[in-house]
């Protein structure tokens, strides 16, 4: 019952929250004193980054670990990992795009050699590598195992990359740009909007993941139909 309800409601609630975020972000919240309307990216960029880095990559990693673990080794886990990684790649790209759009007027450049930017790009390449590996081999089992290992290997790099942010900064001052407190005066309404955006994008992630998963299952079902055909055809090869 609960399950059914949540299934029904996930999509609509996500849409409502997203609409609310945009309404609050575009019309209700005031423009920033320094950055003007540009600061409205605050309601998109951090939320997108949160989904990309932690939510979807994390889901993919946990699902992969569960797949490798003998007792829970199931196709479901492999599928979840695969789908979450795809969603993650999309959100990483969105993070890079929104960040770049923000960076161009804010810092005058599209890209800076900041640890956070670099680490985000690196994570993106990890995701691409993962997806590339998935198409590199015919053997389904091998594929699943290898990509699960890649996801886990990628995940140990996340903390390393994460900590290197601080170390890098302490060594190279001036590269740090992420000081929202300095650039924004976070009013109550802005903070609320920020949180709503986080919630909205979180739900969006789950929604996308579920849809992607459904598509994957459908694809596999279609494959199974063509598979029966292939089996019949192969068997016919024997009879002359």
């Amino acid at each position: 019952m609960m399950k059914l309800l949540s299934q029904r409601l996930l999509g609509p609630v996500t849409l409502v929250l997203l609409a609310l975020t945009f309404w609050l972000g575009l019309w209700v919240t005031p423009p920033d004193k320094v950055q003007g309307n540009l600061a409205r990216l605050l309601y998109v960029h951090p939320a997108v980054a949160w989904v990309a880095l932690y939510l979807s990559f994390g889901t993919a990693t946990i699902a992969s670990a569960l797949y490798l673990w003998k007792r829970s080794r199931s196709v479901v886990m492999d599928r979840v990992a695969h789908c979450a990684m795809e969603v993650s790649l999309v959100f990483i790209i969105l993070t890079l795009i929104t960040g770049s759009i923000w960076g161009r007027p804010a810092w005058g450049v599209w890209w800076a050699w900041d640890a956070r930017l670099t680490s985000t790009a690196i994570l993106g390449v990890f995701a691409v590598g993962y997806l590339a590996l998935r198409r590199a081999n015919d053997d389904f089992e091998l594929q699943a195992r290898r990509s699960a290992v890649v996801a886990i290997l990628a995940a140990i790099n996340v903390p390393i990359i994460h900590f290197s942010v601080q170390w890098w900064k302490t060594l190279h001052q001036g590269a740090s740009v992420f000081t929202p407190g300095g650039n924004f005066k976070v009013h109550g309404i802005m903070l609320t909007t920020l949180f709503i955006s986080l919630a909205a994008f979180t739900l969006l992630f789950f929604w996308l993941l579920r849809e992607r998963y459904r598509v994957e299952v459908l694809r596999e079902e279609r494959q199974r139909v063509s598979l029966d055909e292939a089996l019949a055809q192969r068997r016919r090869e024997g009879v002359h």
Binding site: W113, V125, R135
Partner: protein, 219 residues
């Protein structure tokens, strides 16, 4: 010769397209290498856009090494080489075809990486655009030279690691010429002189290849 060249180029590109190595493997590698070399230099050096052309060409060189390697791998096992040898293809045509296929791949990668350089290394967009003809010629020369050196080291599976050693000294002048004319395009300067060097190198390598490729082929 032209017919053979076309045949070979189409074959190579079809194999490449089928295996999607360019899209899924070479391009991400290029992007990654660009980012990494930026990292290795640290923000002080890489932040300067003056390092842009050099890094771009360095990465293109590494990408080219991968692709030359691949261009030899798809020629297949010794058995395949033996039978293809019995087709009696015109070696000049084979050379041109393989060089063309390689050039197409390098141009595609170069385009993406130039975009990356603009975004990541802050090379100016206008200057980058005006460097385009020189980049095209330089990458073409790289493809021609690479095909020659690929044939030199191809064949057995042993000497794959030999390729970088042999080809890097030959690529160095190309790298310098390309970097100079790219820099000139960015900051003003004698663009055409360096451009001309690349052009001469392209013509020279094409000529040498057409004349000598037959000598290099698997005996």
């Amino acid at each position: 010769m032209i017919r053979t060249a076309w045949l070979v180029a189409v074959k190579d590109l079809r194999i490449e397209q089928r295996s999607r190595v360019l899209l899924w493997q070479v391009l991400p590698f290029g992007v990654m290498a660009l980012v990494l070399s930026g990292l290795a230099l640290g923000p002080t050096h890489a932040g300067h856009s003056s390092a842009g052309p050099g890094l771009f060409y360095l990465v293109m060189l590494l990408v080219a090494l991968l692709m030359i390697n691949r261009s030899q791998v798809i020629e297949g096992s010794p058995g395949t080489r033996a039978s293809v040898a019995t087709l009696g293809l015109d070696p000049a045509g084979v050379f041109l075809g393989k060089a063309l296929a390689l050039a197409v791949e390098l141009w595609l990668t170069g385009l993406v990486l130039l975009g990356g350089a603009v975004l990541v290394l802050h090379t100016a967009l206008a200057g980058t655009l005006s460097a385009l003809p020189s980049v095209v010629v330089t990458l073409g020369a790289l493809a021609a030279a690479g095909t020659l050196y690929g044939a030199l080291t191809g064949g057995g599976q042993g000497p794959v690691t030999l390729l970088p050693v042999l080809s890097l000294p030959a690529f160095a002048p190309l790298l310098i010429a390309g970097e100079r004319s790219f820099s000139a395009a960015l900051h003003g300067g004698a663009l055409w002189r360096w451009w001309l060097i690349s052009l001469v190198a392209l013509v020279a390598y094409l000529g040498i290849g057409i004349l000598l490729y037959g000598v290099l082929e698997e005996s």
